[in-house]
Symmetry: C2
Subunit: 248 residues, 2 copies
DNA sequence: AAAGGCAATTGATCAGGATCAATTTCGGCG
DNA sequence: CGCCGAAATTGATCCTGATCAATTGCCTTT
């Protein structure tokens, strides 16, 4: 492991100031005044994580929140029987662990780096001060949380009403927004950031089922998979898969 | 129908003032000052609904929120294919439709009176003023929304990892908290507020499956059903059903 | 009391995924 | 280059819950 030095670099690497952070406008922090931002900068801790490294673990007390500075983090949920599902992926500019903090509960999910990435940690006390000082920040979180709630209800609804086939089509279309390269001929190419296992655990099926599902998509000419690269020859065919069932 | 006069009584019936509302301390409104509460009282509209009557419908614009004054309201979600699931039940003292308002979206669920009940409507403009005037109100909603998000994620997770049998046991134990009458001998009796159909749609299965599930519980001596009355002879046997899989 | 309608139950069958087991493929490494 | 171990695929079978169809039970209506 030549990259060992990255391992536990303890504190402030990365942009030492949020002012230079390119994600700032997209985060909830955008409503902070300059003074408040300065306060935040002084209190946050930035740190780098290796791929696969755990950021926090389900059941841990929530001591603060994290802000993804670069790359991506997986939000995962496990149970004692060894079931594991990937609830979502957080990209740069999104805040992590806010649910547990706001609900005043332990973490209900684990967060783990999907590739090497950098996160800022903001401790609970700091966040509390910011929330009390600037009500708009709370309203930002409110909107974010309410949206997430809508999506979570969607997922539940879809999990009991749709087949895995439809849910997979859904997933691919969501992935398209971030990874898709649309071709002029109605085709689409993307390089997914996930293993088959992880793809499977995003829609809540076993890896074997995911394999067969992929096989069926290929046999029917809907999409072709080679490693993590996906080729969708005619996008509208994939869209047809979710026809009447769409409620996104 | 001797109760016809209840039908569309348009406005302020019920406690004309939130001050006398017995639920007040349990709602998010508890952080309002007296002046703010007075403002709220002047703006809210109270109205009675008949059993089965729709309060708002999925897809409607969200013009404000509702506060359940008495009895219960079902939160339901439908799709174009005729699937319908009951996402939850809201009791007196809980606020409805806040998600859509906060996320600034249309309603994603319908709300319908499960029995005759009374609700107050608070229009969006009023709510906005209150939120801006009193940051604590936002924080109240924040906590509520964050908790709901945790529960929604739970439901999703459970829907893909647990069998309907376990999920039904879960549901019964949740129902117990509100409707259960625990006997000294470790037994439990409750009178559920739901039809079989609705029970089924709470865990996302067909009514036939619910019937068979109930049959199995009876055959195994776990619980006995007669109409809407449920008798659980030994509570711990029901609890055993959710053994390792519990994460509530 | 009879009739109608809807909810609930039951039966028979089907299909979608899970599970278990066996290969195969692939990426890293000596 | 060939080896190793993990990931991915494939096959065979099982089991859960859906589906379709028929019957029963209950509650309302007359």
């Amino acid at each position: 492991m030549t990259q060992a030095p990255l391992d536990t670099e303890p504190d402030d690497s990365g942009p030492p100031t949020c002012f230079s952070c390119p994600n700032r406008e997209r985060t909830e922090w955008c409503v902070l005044t300059e003074a408040e931002t300065k306060f935040l900068v002084g209190r946050k801790k930035s740190r780098r994580y290796l791929p696969g490294e755990t950021i926090y673990r389900q059941g841990d007390p929530c001591n603060g929140i994290y802000c993804v500075e670069s790359d991506m983090v997986g939000i995962r949920r496990n149970d004692p029987d060894g079931n594991s599902i990937l609830l979502g992926i957080a990209y740069e500019g999104t805040i992590l662990g806010y649910r547990s903090y706001l609900a005043d509960e332990e973490h209900r999910c684990s967060a783990e780096a999907l590739k090497a990435c950098t996160l800022c940690f903001i401790d609970a006390a700091t966040l509390r001060q910011l929330l009390q000082g600037n009500p708009d920040l709370g309203l930002q979180f409110l909107k974010r949380t309410a949206r997430a709630l809508g999506q979570a209800e969607d997922k539940f609804f879809q999990s009991v009403t749709l087949t895995i086939r439809t849910r997979f089509a859904h997933l691919l279309l969501v992935m398209k927004d971030r990874y898709g390269q649309e071709h002029d001929d109605g085709g689409l190419v993307m390089e997914l950031p996930l293993s088959r296992q992880d793809l499977a655990s995003m829609i809540g099926v076993r890896p074997e089922s995911m394999s067969r599902l992929i096989r069926r998509f290929e046999d029917e000419g809907i999409a072709f998979f080679s490693g993590r690269r996906v080729h969708v020859p005619r996008l509208h065919i994939l869209m047809d898969e979710i026809q009447s069932a769409d409620l996104a």
